[in-house]
Symmetry: C2
Subunit: 600 residues, 2 copies
């Protein structure tokens, strides 16, 4: 079990870094406490170990198949779904009055990470269902809540997000699925959606699609999109499941990874009236969907964090037991080979994997903690600040666990050599699975435009400035806590300052010519991500340093020394990459912008 996510590390992040134990002081979490939280984590870790991990390979090797128009899945998928539904985790953060557990997001998120580390192909189904349910809870009418939510939260039905169309991948403005008003106030939905994860299967009694479509006569572009609840089978007002609602499976897509999760092409209303129920007001669908999408984006980040974490733990285990070669300078071939963790380059690879995995987990838990703060913070100012930080951190949380996490998984694979590359072992699957996270829920390029084009300039740069304030405060605190951390604090301060100067220049360039100013948005996102991870690592180092000063011994001391050394590695080898990023951004290098199609 410990191969997936280290419980000691999780406790460190939750209780020593993020101070989660104080949350029960707030009314919403009254009566809860660390015992409750640890029990939830125990339960999900147990389910992950017993019902998820054993089927990771089955999901990969016996992927869902279309047989006589029905999707047939391996037995592990049903077992995993049932076990997770049983835990109530789909409703974890919902009100107790609605059957939820009213848990903090940060605890629910940590618990779900066990599932994602163990088997992402299975974990996606409950996560998509939770996302769809949260959207109905936030924007649906009371009648809609009563009709759809209880069964979704209980895991009787599942849910999906149906946005993308074959001719409009990242470009939601070009959606063509239509919604024609019917006399009873519902709509007839017609169109085709692609890449719909969990879009068809036999795991649940019904599937509730949340579909973006245009009502006849709606404005062009993103301002004419509405959101609909479209069940696979019709549902009477009392919740009884009826016949087909004419959502038909047109095909399964076969991906490099995430093979357990059906990826579908769905036709709506091709063979009969497909009824959709409008959520909220017409033409506001995109804003609603972005509510779920922000959550989904942080969820993608958490999945990447979890997968890279699993790969890291596999590699550490391998490096400790695999004996091979001798250290440089040892000339005697009769001496026994050393465990490969003794080789400096193996430790470099493992530290890369550790910094990516633990840094990514720290980031996504930070974001979940900010969601709690946004919802339950003591003051209006605290809630607003949390919201601002979340805005600016979301594109980073979506992207960097996918990108840096992939480097971590690749490093873990490299530690294991040929074994890492073989399907007889686990890491190559994680390498394939995690690669998707740079694509779905908005590609890296889309996140980069979101960060530099929207989140940084919005509200006169308030979110970006607030993040800078927090980072600077963490640097001061680190230097004050431990003189040995002062050089790291100084290095972070310098990176932050350079980033600020670059931001000013790029905003000016964008004002002159948007396309040119945004041409290096992805490099900007990379640079910002590296600075944010440095912030997260320095905070962890500060906590670790204080614990060591307070007298931690034995394995506890080893744990904290590992955190400190990882921070040193991060600042010694990873943060310097911002030297290259900043060089590109300061020149706002125009080579890609000026390239022409005909020259390729």
């Amino acid at each position: 079990m410990s191969l997936q996510i280290d419980r000691r590390d999780l406790a460190f992040l939750l209780y020593e870094v993020l101070d989660v134990a104080t949350l029960p002081e707030r009314p919403r979490f009254a009566g809860q406490g660390r015992e409750v939280y640890d029990a939830v984590l125990d339960t999900l870790e147990g389910v992950a170990a017993e019902h998820y991990a054993p089927f990771r390979k089955a999901n990969d090797q016996q992927e869902p198949a279309l047989v006589d128009g029905r999707v047939i899945t391996n037995p592990g998928l049903q077992q995993g779904w049932d076990a997770v539904a049983e835990t109530g985790i789909i409703a974890a953060t919902h009100d107790e009055a609605r059957g939820g557990m009213q848990l903090p997001h940060v605890i629910a998120s940590a618990a779900i990470a066990f599932l994602e580390a163990a088997n992402i192909g299975s974990a996606s189904y409950p996560m998509l269902t939770a996302g769809a349910a949260n959207l109905i809870a936030a924007f649906g009418s009371e009648a809609q809540r009563q009709r759809w939510l209880p069964r979704m939260l209980a895991g009787t039905w599942s849910g999906t997000m149906a946005l993308t169309e074959p001719d409009a991948g990242s470009s939601l403005a070009d959606l063509r699925t239509s919604a024609r008003p019917l006399p009873d106030g519902t709509y007839a939905i017609e169109g085709t959606k692609i890449w719909i994860s969990g879009g068809d299967h036999q795991l649940t009694g019904n599937i509730v699609h949340l579909v973006l479509a245009r009502i006849a006569g709606a404005p062009e572009g993103t301002k004419g999109i509405s959101l609909f609840i479209v069940p696979r089978n019709t549902v009477a007002e009392d919740g009884t499941v009826g016949g087909s609602n004419h959502v038909t499976l047109a095909g399964l897509i076969h991906k490099m990874g995430w093979r357990g999760t059906t990826s579908t092409l769905l036709n709506f209303g091709e063979r009969g009236t497909c009824v959709g129920h409008l959520v909220g007001e017409p033409h506001k669908g995109l804003a609603y969907m972005f509510h779920m999408m922000n959550e989904a984006r942080i969820g993608v980040g958490r999945a990447g964090a979890a997968m890279s974490y699993a790969a890291f733990r596999y590699a550490v285990e391998y490096a400790r037991t695999r004996r091979q070669g001798r250290v440089p300078g040892e000339k005697d071939p009769t001496r026994p080979p050393v465990a490969i963790v003794e080789h400096a380059d193996i430790r470099r690879l493992l530290l890369t994997a550790k910094c990516a995995a633990e840094g990514s987990l720290a980031l996504v838990l930070e974001c979940a903690r900010l969601v709690d703060e946004q919802e339950t913070g003591a003051t209006e100012a605290a809630r607003q600040e949390a919201g601002l930080l979340l805005e600016v951190l979301t594109p980073i949380a979506k992207t960097w666990p996918a990108v840096y996490g992939q480097e971590g998984i690749s490093s873990a694979l490299q530690v294991m050599g040929g074994y890492g590359y073989a399907r007889e072992y686990d890491v190559e699957q994680l390498y394939r699975d995690n690669r998707l996270n740079q694509i779905h829920e908005g590609t890296n390029g889309i996140q980069a435009l979101d960060l530099l084009g929207r989140k940084v300039p919005q509200a006169h740069g308030a979110a970006f400035a607030l993040l800078g304030t927090r980072i600077a405060a963490a640097a001061r605190e680190a230097a004050a806590a431990d003189p040995a951390l002062a050089p790291l604090a100084q290095q972070l301060g310098a990176a932050l300052e350079r980033m600020g100067a670059v931001t000013t220049r790029l905003l000016a360039a964008m004002a002159q010519e948007p396309a040119r100013g945004l041409a290096n948005a992805t490099v900007y996102l990379e640079c910002a991500s590296r600075v944010v991870y440095a912030w997260l690592w320095l905070r962890q180092a500060t906590v670790a340093s204080r614990a060591l000063a307070a007298g931690a011994t034995g394995r506890e001391a080893d744990f904290y020394r590992g955190k400190l050394q990882a921070a040193r590695f991060y600042f010694g080898q990873e943060l310097p990459r911002t030297l290259a990023d900043a060089d590109v951004l300061e020149r706002n290098d125009a080579s890609a912008f000026e390239m022409q199609d005909a020259w390729f």
Copy 2:
């Protein structure tokens, strides 16, 4: 066909950059010329398109299976083998007197790249056979050459390299396979080898394994290893194939990619005497094997170059035809979507793929050209210099097309979004296939130790100094040819100078404490690779600039402008990464070196 490797680019590298048209002035290539060379390229490009590319997916989806003790492969594998054997390419560089074509290595290498771009799972069989044959040609006795070579060169038999053992992956010093002298001068081989590519199949009448083993009583370590020819079936002196030589297939390993190539666990002599024929002198096997391994390492680089090239061309094709979204600043949603190549971030991804693919091809052809120079250079000095450059470039040619090429393939995949990730398309397979190239024939870490620990210090740094001289000369030539290239030349000069200073410091550190001095060898390899690619891109830019100045027009001008712009992108966005590398190396960052096992 042009989706695989652009013939215009290949002609540019061969005839405009590497001056291959002058090779027929040398006695060995007398009577040849560009027409001959282009005919060879035409032939292999045709075979790749007709018999290789159509089976790339079949190799991936119907991988070799063990049925009743026999390896069953998909029909494409046999068709590909037969078609390639027919071309004579296995014998391309061998003497005409032995049935070869006596072609320059640079031409043979370019021709083979078509096969590797089209289907690496099939291409590996002839390449391994050529490698084994070259080894026998170089170190076997005349009797051995006559007995083994004709059938291997004709493709009647295939060959393998059997080095690795389960308990000694990268550490050849720990090989345990034994060779017991038999009365007739042959040896009885006993042991187990793992990851033997092409180790069993039914494609050819026999398989000739080149096996490393220890003769009883040999010294420990690498100085006690000998090389043997070990056929799957016995071969009489007249070449007649007999019964089993007791090489038994103990299992197939299933990899993430390269699925068409059988990866085998082989037992030698477990069920009866397995006869091996000693090649050359006892205990010199490793030196002989390294002859083949250097060739194999450059071959791995070429495979990586070819795969990243194919991915690049797929992505360009996709980006030109896929229409989606609008450029920043365009507010009118009724305007039609643009081809995605119009988005600056897509061009950035494509330029990354272009720089990696074309830069890697330039490097491996440079190396092949140096092999020709080493063998047929006009003067002893020219031959020696070529040899020195090859020594220092080999670890880079092995590693960087695998690492940077993977970044290129990942960029190509990203351009295609969900389609790039789907197995219904081609790029995800290239992403899986190329990942192996960082592992086999010596991992990145092994190459890094080879570069910094052996190649750079050897002969008082002669090879490294010579490479520096060549790079500096190219920079001067670029600045002289075109004032617009002067800033790039200056940037390369600065990177080279910083690299030289770092090298001096690291060599001093290694003299004091080898393990500490070599702790960042991989970062050194990365830095050196980026500088070498800058050299290759600046030379291409120089040729392109001259061609434009000489009046190239139309599509020719577009081609040269593409080369110039790619060079600008490389110097604008990729070479700056050496700022981070040099920062790490100047401090000889000790964070990984000082990390301890217990802290993970």
